[in-house]
C-alpha cells in the first residue's frame, strides 16, 4: 500500500475510538431502566388516578403534545384542552402537568437522564419546588 | 481541485496555522459568549446591535462587489478582467461566509436559527436577507468552481454556466439592497430612514470591495506566479475612485438634509458621531479617522499620477477599505441607536470577547479565501495563457 503505515495507524486509532464506549463498560453492571415515580401527594389524593391521556400515549407523544399545547396557548389563544375522554384541562406545563407530577427529579428527569436528553423547558418554566430527601 | 490547497510552501502553511490559531482563540471566546449570553459584549438595551451586525453589513458590500469584475467581463467582453473574475468570485464566497458567521454569533438563540426557514416570513427583510445571501453563496460557488474547472481541463466553460453568471450579476446588487432595507425601512430611527441608504450601501460596496480585490491581486502577484494584470488592476482602481467619490458625495447629501432642515432627530446622530453630545464622545476619534482616511484615499485616487503607481494605489486602497470599514462597519450601526428613542445616550464599545470573536470570523473568511485562492492560482499557473491569449503568469 502506498503510505500504508499512515492508513493502518489511522484505522487503528479510528477503531479504538469507535469501540471505546463498549470496552469501557465491560464488566460493569448495566444501568437499570428508568422508573418514573408516580407517588406524589397530589396523585395519591386523586380518586381516579388518570392523566390527561393514557400512559402509553403520554410516554410516546408527550413531547409533540406539549409542543402543540404551546402553539395553541401562545399563538392561537386557546387554553382549554378536551381530552380523548371528554374531560377539560388547562393546557399548561407549569400549572397543570406539574401540579400532579410535582416530583420532576423523580419523574421527568428519570427518563430524560437515562436517554441523555435535556429538554429546554426548564430554562424558562419554573420546576416545582421539591424537598431534598 | 481542492487537493491543490494541500500542497504549499512553508510560508503558506505558516499563514494557515496562524489563521487557525486566531480561529481557535475566538472559538473559545465564543463558547464563553454562548454560555453566559450576549451580555459579554458591549451591546445594551439601547444599542442592541453592535460590531457583529456592523461587520456583517460591511461584508455584504464586499461580497456584492464581485459584480464589478464579473459584469464588465461577461456582459461587455472587457477582456482585461479575464484573470480577475475568479479572484472576485472567490472573494465573494469568503465574504458571504463571514456574513453568515457574523449573523450566527450575534444571535441570542443560535440553536434556533432554523426557525427562520421553518417559519418563513416574507414580510421580514431579515428572512429575505438570509434567502438572498444563501443563494448568492451557492451561485458564486457554482460559477467560480465550474469556470475554474473548465480552465484546468483546458476547455471552454459549459454554456449552461452563462445564465447563472447573468443571474449572479443581477443578484449581487440585490443582496446589498436587501441589507440596506434592514435599516431604511424602520420608522423609528431617523439616522437610517433615508431613501438613499441602498444607494449609499452600493457605492461604498463598489469602492470597498474592489479596493480589497486590488490588494489581494497585488499580494497574489507578489507571492505566486499568477498575475491578474496591470490593466485589470488599473481599471479596478478607476472603479474604486469613482465609487469612493460617489460614496463621499452621498454622505454629504445626508449631512445636507440633516443640517439644512435642522430637524433635531436627523441632526443628533451626526452630532453624536462627529462631535459628541452631552459629554459622550467615544466614537468621535473613530469617525474622524474614517474621514481623514477617506480624504487621503480620494487624494491618492483622483490624481492619475498617484493612482498609476501601484504601490501608491495600494496605500489608497488600504485607506479606502479602512475608512469604509469604520463608517459602514461601526459608525452606521451605532449611530442608529444613539440617541435612543427617549433621546438619551447609551454609548457602545466592543469588549474583548467581542473583539476576539470578530477576529476569529475574519480569520475564518481569510482561511476560506486563502484555500480558494490557492486552488485558483495553482490551476491558473498551469494554464499560462487565458482564452484571449493573454499571459496569466509572470514571465
Amino acid at each position: 500500500m502506498y503510505d500504508g503505515w499512515k492508513i493502518i495507524l489511522g484505522l487503528i486509532i479510528f477503531i479504538g475510538i469507535a469501540i471505546f464506549p463498549f470496552v469501557y463498560d465491560v464488566g460493569k453492571a448495566s444501568i437499570p431502566p428508568p422508573e418514573p415515580k408516580l407517588d406524589t401527594p397530589e396523585i395519591q389524593k386523586m380518586a381516579v388516578k388518570k392523566c390527561v391521556e393514557s400512559k402509553s400515549f403520554m410516554a410516546a407523544e408527550h413531547m409533540v403534545m406539549l409542543n402543540d399545547w404551546r402553539d395553541s396557548v401562545v399563538r392561537d389563544g386557546n387554553r382549554i384542552y378536551i381530552a380523548n375522554d371528554g374531560k377539560e384541562y388547562v393546557m399548561s406545563l407549569q400549572n397543570t402537568c406539574m401540579k400532579c407530577h410535582s416530583n420532576k427529579t423523580k419523574f421527568c428527569d428519570e427518563c430524560h437522564n437515562y436517554m441523555a436528553v435535556t429538554p429546554y423547558c426548564w430554562d424558562c418554566h419554573i420546576a416545582p419546588k421539591e424537598e431534598k430527601t | 481541485m481542492l487537493e491543490t490547497a494541500l500542497k504549499g510552501s512553508r510560508r503558506y502553511w505558516g499563514w494557515i496555522f496562524f489563521l487557525l490559531g486566531i480561529i481557535g482563540v475566538g472559538f473559545i471566546a465564543y463558547l464563553y459568549q454562548f454560555r453566559i449570553g450576549l451580555g459579554v459584549t458591549g451591546m445594551s438595551r439601547d444599542v442592541s446591535w453592535g460590531l457583529y451586525i456592523g461587520q456583517f453589513t460591511f461584508l455584504v458590500g464586499v461580497a456584492a462587489s464581485g459584480v464589478m469584475v464579473v459584469l464588465p467581463y461577461y456582459l461587455h467582453n472587457y477582456k482585461a478582467f479575464g484573470r480577475m473574475t475568479v479572484l472576485g468570485e472567490f472573494l465573494a464566497i469568503a465574504a458571504v461566509i463571514m456574513c453568515m458567521l457574523f449573523i450566527f454569533v450575534d444571535m441570542g438563540q443560535p440553536l434556533r436559527v432554523l426557525n427562520v426557514i421553518l417559519h418563513p416570513t416574507p414580510n421580514s427583510v431579515m428572512f429575505f436577507d438570509m434567502l438572498v445571501l444563501s443563494i448568492y453563496l451557492l451561485l458564486n460557488i457554482l460559477v467560480g468552481w465550474t469556470v475554474l474547472g473548465a480552465e484546468r481541463k483546458g476547455i471552454a466553460a459549459p454554456s449552461w454556466v452563462k445564465p447563472f453568471i447573468i443571474l449572479s450579476i443581477a443578484w449581487a446588487p440585490s443582496i446589498h439592497t436587501v441589507t440596506a432595507f434592514l435599516y431604511s425601512g424602520l420608522p423609528g430611527r431617523h439616522f437610517w430612514l433615508t431613501a438613499i441608504m441602498a444607494a449609499r450601501f452600493l457605492a461604498s460596496a463598489f469602492a470597498g470591495g474592489p479596493s480589497l480585490l486590488i490588494l489581494l491581486a497585488l499580494i497574489v502577484r507578489k507571492y505566486t506566479k499568477f498575475d491578474a494584470g496591470t490593466e485589470a488592476i488599473q481599471a479596478l482602481g478607476k472603479i474604486v475612485t469613482y465609487f469612493m467619490i460617489t460614496n463621499v458625495f452621498f454622505l454629504g447629501l445626508e449631512f445636507f438634509t440633516a443640517f439644512y432642515s435642522k430637524i433635531p432627530g436627523h441632526m443628533e446622530p451626526f452630532i453624536y458621531l462627529y462631535t459628541g453630545v452631552e459629554g459622550y464622545g467615544k466614537l468621535v476619534p473613530v469617525m474622524w479617522t474614517s474621514t481623514i482616511l477617506a480624504v487621503v484615499a480620494l487624494f491618492l485616487l483622483i490624481f492619475p499620477q498617484f493612482r498609476k503607481k501601484e504601490n501608491v494605489l495600494a496605500v489608497a486602497c488600504v485607506s479606502t477599505f479602512l475608512s469604509l470599514w469604520i463608517e459602514k462597519g461601526f459608525g452606521l450601526i451605532v449611530g442608529g441607536f444613539v440617541p435612543n428613542p427617549f433621546e438619551r445616550v447609551t454609548e457602545y464599545w466592543p469588549t474583548l470577547p467581542e473583539a476576539l470573536i470578530t477576529l476569529a470570523v475574519w480569520a475564518t473568511g481569510f482561511l476560506v479565501l486563502t484555500i480558494l485562492y490557492k486552488v485558483a492560482v495553482s490551476i491558473k499557473e498551469e494554464a499560462v495563457f487565458d482564452k484571449y491569449g493573454q499571459r496569466q503568469i509572470k514571465p
Binding site: E61, V64, D68, R70, S72, V74, R75, D76, G77, N78, R79, I80, Y81, I82, V90, Q94, N95, Y120, D123, C124, I126 | I36, G37, L38, G39, S44, R45, D46, S48, W49, D106, M107, G108, Q109, P110, R112, V113, N115, V116, L118, H119, T121, S124, V125, M126, M130, G185, L186, P187, G188, R189, P264, G265, G336, F337, P341, F342, E343, R344, T346
Partner: protein
C-alpha cells in the same frame, strides 16, 4: 461497472442530502397531533376586538401611584432586576414627559410638565413595525384582539424588533435572568425567560385568558380604592363605543407617543 472516486463521492453526497432533506421535509409537513375540535378558549376569558389603555396622568399624584403599577407587572411576570442601564429588563416604567415624547422641543415648556413622570410601556400598535420585521413570527399581532404577542419559544434573539420599535419598549435577556429574580417573590405560575430572547409587555394575555384585567391596571385600581381616589390606568376595548376607554377618548383631549410614524399605538395619554 467501475466507478471512480469523484463519482462515488458525488453519489454519496447527493444521497445524503436527499436523505436528510427528505426526512426534514416529512418532519416539517407532519400534521399536528391536536385537532381543532380538541382545543378551545377559556369561557372565562375577557375578549375584545382591540385592547387599548388610557393613562390618566392627572390621577398619578405620588411616587406610590407609579411604583405599584410597575411592581405588580414585574412581580407577576418574574421580570428580573438586573440593575444596570446596559442590560436592564423593563416592561413598564416611569419616564419624564420630555423623554417619553421627544420631538416636542420647547425651551419655554413649564418645568413642571417637562419633568412630569409618565408611565410608558409597549403600545401594542395596530401597525407594529416590530411584527413586520420579525423573521420567525416570534412576535405577532393577535388577530382576535390586537395584542402584540411574544412567543418566547420561537424567538431567535436577532433583536431586529428592538431596532424597529420606535418606542424602546423591548428588552433583551443579555444573560440568564434567574439569578436576578428574587426567589421569595417569584410567581410560580408564570415562567421566567432564558438568556437570548426579547421580552416586553403583553397586555397580560395570560390573565385576560383567565378573566383577569392586566396586573398594572388592577394595581392602579386597588390603590385607588385604598386611597379613595380614581385609578390612573383604564383598560378596555377600543372598538367598543361603549367602553370606558372610548368614553374618555370622546370626552377629553388625548395624545399618543410619536403618532406621526403611522404605528397607531393603542396606549393613549390624557392630562386630566
Amino acid at each position: 461497472m467501475s466507478i471512480d472516486r469523484r463519482e462515488f463521492l458525488k453519489i454519496a453526497g447527493a444521497s445524503t442530502l436527499l436523505g436528510i432533506g427528505g426526512m426534514s421535509a416529512s418532519a416539517i409537513l407532519k400534521k399536528n397531533l391536536l385537532e381543532a375540535s380538541q382545543v378551545m378558549p377559556d369561557a372565562k376569558g375577557l375578549t375584545a376586538k382591540r385592547w387599548g389603555m388610557v393613562v390618566d396622568i392627572s390621577k398619578f399624584k405620588t411616587e406610590d401611584d407609579y411604583r405599584v403599577c410597575v411592581e405588580a407587572c414585574h412581580l407577576v411576570h418574574n421580570v428580573p432586576n438586573i440593575g444596570t442601564t446596559k442590560e436592564e429588563v423593563k416592561w413598564i416604567w416611569k419616564e419624564t414627559y420630555e423623554h417619553a415624547f421627544p420631538g416636542n422641543e420647547d425651551p419655554y415648556l413649564s418645568p413642571e410638565i417637562k419633568h412630569m413622570p409618565f408611565l410608558v410601556l409597549c403600545n401594542h400598535c395596530d401597525n407594529p413595525p416590530c411584527v413586520r420585521v420579525c423573521p420567525t413570527k416570534a412576535t405577532f399581532k393577535r388577530e382576535s384582539d390586537g395584542i402584540v404577542m411574544m412567543d418566547m419559544h420561537r424567538c431567535i434573539g436577532c433583536r431586529f424588533c428592538m431596532a424597529a420599535c420606535p418606542y424602546g419598549a423591548r428588552s433583551f435577556n443579555y444573560r440568564d435572568p434567574r439569578p436576578f429574580i428574587d426567589a421569595a417573590t417569584e410567581n410560580l405560575e408564570f415562567p421566567t425567560r432564558m438568556r437570548g430572547v426579547v421580552e416586553k409587555c403583553t397586555f397580560c394575555y395570560e390573565r385576560l385568558a383567565k378573566g383577569l384585567i392586566p396586573a398594572c391596571v388592577e394595581a392602579s385600581q386597588e390603590l385607588a380604592r385604598k386611597t379613595g381616589r380614581e385609578p390612573g390606568l383604564i383598560f378596555g376595548d377600543l372598538e367598543d363605543p361603549n367602553s370606558e376607554v372610548r368614553k374618555i377618548l370622546n370626552e377629553r383631549y388625548s395624545f399618543r407617543r410619536r403618532p406621526e410614524l403611522g404605528t397607531y399605538p393603542s396606549v393613549y395619554y390624557v392630562l386630566g
